[in-house]
């Protein structure tokens, strides 16, 4: 690579990094506790483990008590609407019921966890309070909704450009150095340059995956919006004339779920949208089933079920762009390999913070050394000596 193209790549690396580093640092730092969301929720009592059942209770628990859970949730919030029922992917006995002030409200008014075997409520999930929810919003949308998400997505795209330009520059920087050289006895700037290069290049695979999947996640709103406008609208087209149901949107959810499960072999509940919700029809449930193999369990199959008689009306595979989103999520969260993978996610995140921090430090140092001779009242020879010192 010749000197002028190195210079160009340097310029790209500097400017893409300057634009996104502060946001990338924010994302990496807030990401640290988010890796352990599940554990922190458990420790704070936001979620509880389902209790051990007696032999008699186990014998009685032949199928999940969906209707009882939904009735209970409805009683706790009169006038509110059940929006979603979902099953915890870590513990198949645990179900979550989400309610909203309207059936299609963007924000939930309550989320209850239930023990599916007994139909008893386990805990109410606290909404929008506590430090974890602040961390979550900072990580996801900067408290700015969709524009905030898309902004962070754009920062992610710029971060990819910064990573790529960094990799291109790694070659010329390492031309005379062995892999892993860390010149600890030299000036601080040299030491941190080596650490920046070493940690940057070893975390390349992970950091790129997490950045790209993070960008895809920022598009989840538009991606599901597109699915609703196309696939869901097509599935509901024959029933459009029926209009919305009167009164409660709760109509034998257990029957609907069982019909959907019978329709798609080897599947289990991912989540289920209740009538009136954007993910369902005005009088129809949409049950999103996941497969029961490691890969298939990340993907969903939507099944449209008539709320009035529990009949399966339609079922269509999700389009590739939705599946891409669903596959991206675990690759971003690192929640698919148990505790060891989470610890690794945390560690790699820490290394990435060092890469970002050292990059910022190197830029600040370089900037100061070039400004210093102009500002300081030193003579020309002193200035030359300083510049030599700064550039070795």
């Amino acid at each position: 690579m010749n000197a002028s193209s190195i210079k160009t790549w340097h310029w790209i690396h500097k400017w893409t990094s300057l634009i996104c580093t502060i946001f990338a640092l924010l994302l990496c730092i807030t990401g640290l506790p988010l890796v352990f969301t599940h554990e922190i929720d458990r420790a704070l009592g936001n979620t509880v483990a389902p209790p051990e059942l007696t032999a008699a209770e186990v014998a009685e628990a032949t199928r999940p008590r969906i209707d009882e859970m939904i009735d209970d949730a409805q009683r706790r919030r009169p006038g509110h609407f059940v929006q979603f029922l979902s099953q915890d992917d870590d513990n198949k006995y645990v179900y979550f019921v989400r309610l909203g002030e309207t059936a299609d409200a963007t924000l939930p008014s309550a989320v209850y966890a239930y023990d599916g075997r007994t139909g008893k409520m386990l805990s109410e999930y606290p909404l929008n309070d506590g430090v974890m929810s602040v961390i979550f919003r900072l990580h996801v949308d900067l408290f700015a909704g969709l524009p905030g998400m898309l902004f962070l997505g754009a920062m992610g795209v710029i971060l990819v450009a910064s990573i790529v330009s960094g990799v291109v520059l790694y070659g010329p920087y390492m031309r005379k150095l062995a892999f892993g050289s860390v010149r600890a006895r030299r000036a601080a700037r040299i030491l941190w340059l080596d650490i920046h290069n070493l940690l940057g290049i070893v975390t390349l695979g992970w950091f790129t995956i997490v950045t790209v999947t993070g960008v895809i996640n920022t598009l989840s709103g538009p991606i599901f919006g597109r699915w609703q406008e196309t696939h869901l609208t097509q599935m509901l087209a024959p029933y459009r004339a029926d209009g919305a149901a009167e009164g409660s949107n709760v109509n034998a959810p257990q029957r609907a779920l069982e019909a959907a499960l019978a329709h798609v072999p080897d599947s289990e509940l991912g989540f289920m949208a209740f009538p009136g919700n954007n993910f369902a029809g005005p009088r129809q449930f949409v049950v999103f089933l996941r497969g029961n193999t490691p890969l298939r369990e990340k993907l969903l199959t939507p099944v449209l079920v008539d709320a009035a008689d529990g009949r399966v009306l339609d079922s269509r595979e999700l389009p590739a762009y939705v599946s891409a989103l669903l596959i991206s999520q675990p690759l971003h969260f690192g929640d698919y390999g148990g505790m060891p993978l989470k610890v690794l996610w945390f560690t790699l995140d820490l290394l990435s913070i060092v890469v970002l921090g050292s990059g910022l430090y190197l830029w600040l140092r370089k900037r100061n050394t070039s400004i210093e001779p102009w500002r300081s009242p030193l003579g020309p020879s002193d200035r030359a000596a300083m510049n030599v010192g700064a550039s070795t």
């Binding site: 010149r183 600890a184 992970w206 690794l344």
Partner: protein, 66 residues
């Protein structure tokens, strides 16, 4: 191994380890996603290798300065 020499390094010397570690970690993370059990251990080893390599080189440098 001398850290700093005046001779240019070959492409293999410069890019061997970076390519190996990157391919290893990406393949391992994807394998862990599409299979369970042993695959999760593979995922941890593959994605953990970069951490071990980095820790090794940084700690060696710290030792040398003492």
């Amino acid at each position: 191994m001398n850290a700093n020499t005046n001779t240019n390094r070959t492409a293999l010397e410069v890019w061997g380890m970076p390519v190996l570690l990157t391919v290893m970690s990406v393949v391992a993370l994807v394998v862990g996603l599409i299979a369970d059990g042993v695959a999760d251990i593979v995922a941890c080893i593959g994605a953990g290798a970069p951490v071990v390599v980095a820790a090794w080189h940084v700690s060696r440098a710290v030792m040398r300065t003492r």
